[in-house]
Amino acid sequence: MNSPSHTETQVLIIGGGATGTALARDLALRGVDCILVEKDDINSGASGHNHGLLHSGARYVASDRQTAMECRAEGAILKSVAAQTIENTGGYFVAVQGDDERYVADFPSLCARAGIAARAVDLTAARALEPALSERTIAVFEVPDASIDPFRLSLESMAHARSLGARLMRRSRVLGFERDGRRIRAVRVQCGSEELRVEAAQIVNAAGAWARELALLAAAPVEMAYFKGTLLVTHTRLASRVVNRLRLPADADILMPGGTVSIAGTTSTPVDALDDIYPTTAEVDLIVAEAARMLPPLETMRYIRAYAGVRPLVGAPGAGGGRAVSRGYALFDHEDQGLDNLATITGGKLTTCRLMAERAADLVCRRLGVTRPCLTATTPLPVAPECGWTEPGRSARAWMRSHARDDTLLCECELVPGRAVDAIYDALRAQGDAPTLTDIGLRSRVGKGACQGAFCAPRTVAHLYNRGDFQARRGLAEILDFFGERWRGERAVLWGEQLAQAELMEALHCGVFGEELQAEELRTEDLRGEVSP
């Protein structure tokens, strides 16, 4: 039925972030057949490069009440259907001396108008519960913010969708669209060395920041602007709750709990291009200086990593054809651009990904004549055993519980046992994939601790060779890929203890292993070094 170069489906989804995976699940639950193509891996874009905040909505009560109310509603839904991905930490909004006192005074009524529960907290009590708060704190409100693991959310959404028949194609890039009048007849996709034609009745562009590029490829442009956001990961967790700065949205106004660490952010810098996005030392310094006004220990905290993502912001309503549904996210039907089977869903928040998927699925189903309603607001997201390894502490618990003779600890920072790597590897393998070290890193805590992979990456590779999964020189290439990616985030926070850590990493990988010279070592043919300068 499906020759290697041709396949058919009802809906082709482009993009494997929070929205794309939620859409695959939504459609699968309505009995619609779909394929999700992702040029890289799950959450490779903004979905995997944000602070993991499940918004109460309080952040937007003044600037965008519609988004605030959507966040409030969606936050409550995700807490009930995807509880395993959420740490219900609660959140504080904190003002310090010098902050706009009028905004502080208006905040409770703004929250009330958006239906968001905000309770004033006594300053002494707040500082007893969150000792890192500044002595210069002048107001604290408690709101129902929470922390969400975006990787687990997307991985489990996709796993659920797959269990219902959806297909996932990672590392598959859209090359072009074959147009036939008002329809896209087929989408050409590069997967590995092979080119595939996908014929789909409906196509949804859920490519996040890359949606502009895709829409242009389909000759149905949408206007979008890109904003780069940088975040910092601390070595230890500084606060148990989400701590927001009580002011209008601005740089460095949040500290998120993220399991065993805290995440400080963010910046917002307009950028033109999507490649070559990396955190700079200037952004890091800005975040440290500004966030430390609210939480002074951040000034001297050890940071283990920084990362940057690109937020897509959709242009003014109507600008790109179709209609912008709200300022938060946008759904384009492209019909006034002469296309009846393409939709673009982009912008928005991690918190509203389910809603965005629902709106896109509603459009697609209407076009397909499918009348089954959306089920994602009420259907619990099933726990998928191979998707839970991004949770800090889970692998440690598993390892302590069943420390079997044939199970070794591969990562000592985050206590990742060989068994976790096996589970992830085997699950990907079962999908017909050739899993890489980077794939394993995305789905586990490997490389997430203080050593940033210096020790656990070679150990994991050794483990995979011992299992017979890796052959030839592949391990070396994967170690270099993995470090390359980690390094982009690490280099802007290298001072103090983390600089000493990075020095050890280079001493091992360059000093002892000579990884940077292997091309040269092999070129000097007979391994003895017969290169005579």
């Binding site: 050794a462 060779y465 890796f470 390094w487 002892v512 070592e521 070094g529």
Partner: protein, 437 residues
Amino acid sequence: MSSARQDSCDVAVIGAGMAGMAAALFAAERGLKCIQVGNSGGLLFASGLLDLLGVQPVAEGRLWQSPFEALAALAREEPLHPLARVDARSIRSAFDSFVAALGGSGLHYAPLGERNRKVLTSIGTIKTTYGVPRSMIAGADLLDARPPCLLLDFRGLREFSAAQIAATLGERWPGLRHRQIEFPGGEALPELYGAHLARALESAETRARAIALVKPLLGDAHAVGFPAVLGLARSGDVHAAFEAGLGVPVFEIPTMPTSVPGLRLLRALEGLMSARGVHRHHQAGARALTFDADGATATLELEGISTGSGGERVFARAVVLATGRFSGRGLSADRAGVRESLLGLPVQQPASRAAWHQRDFLDPSGHAINRAGLRVDDAWRPLDAGGTPAWPRLHAVGSILAHQDWMRSKCGAGLAIATAWAAIDQVTRELRGTAAG
């Protein structure tokens, strides 16, 4: 103890890594009364291989077969590099002395020659080095002909996979086979630790059981490679016993740090310090270093878990600073810049933190921060902000020095040993002219 204890010496060496150990050893061998301060734990990260100079220039990744030709090129191209400031004869003498001393302490190296050697690493890469422990040399010798060989690992020794090494080299070395075996006595353990295995193999019985397990696997193997766990204090004997028992050359491959070869080096050097009468304050750190007005004596205040409330003072006629870089704590960095940790000596460094590191981890040029460090005069004296020596008898050696990137040049041990030799040479000459302390 309430009153401060005091001690005096000719030369105080601050630091107990490779450079500090070499400096203390060379000082003692010249009859200087030496006190050494500092934790030696950093040596655990050593591989046991003694690099001299493998790559020059770094940006071209050019490998040299002769370290001495590489040194000559370095002297032409980077005259400020610390190794370019030590003459070749001194470097040879330094290595000969260091390796001979280690041999006397039970850690034997293969004879040092004119050429660099290539050895296998635990991830299957090939590394250019110079001084190779006797227990590893057969592996280097085999890289010429690549005859059929057997690589072994022990189940549970998680950072060493013989399968990985064989697979990585397989295309170029088809006769390289691999097997995993159970470590005798470790069958029930999920994880094995190199140091435990090394100690266990010093028992003749465990060794015999290991040899009996390996022997039937030999086949056509001309040699057998093991992870570097063949003995600790008596590694020479253990290695010899394996060769005798198996009837073929046996070689070790260094494992990931912290490794048994690092531990052997640490033990051998600590043994040498005590044999040569170096007084070690190995649990203490240097809290402060001051110099008297007439330039005759330095006072070192110590701080550490072994000292009483009054602390300890060391008076020294000369001081060698061998405190290393960031992981050794000789240099410290915050967001604004790099400082020398003990005295606040000026550090040669890039203009801003944005220039410290390249965008790519393996950028061929290396990271600019790695060339930051202390500037010294021809007598190895760190320079103050005005460009003059900070104190007439304060000398700096090893990786804390500026204008070098030992990780990329493959010159770590060479930098430590050669600059220690040259600085102690200088100290000896300085002190010879003055009355004994």
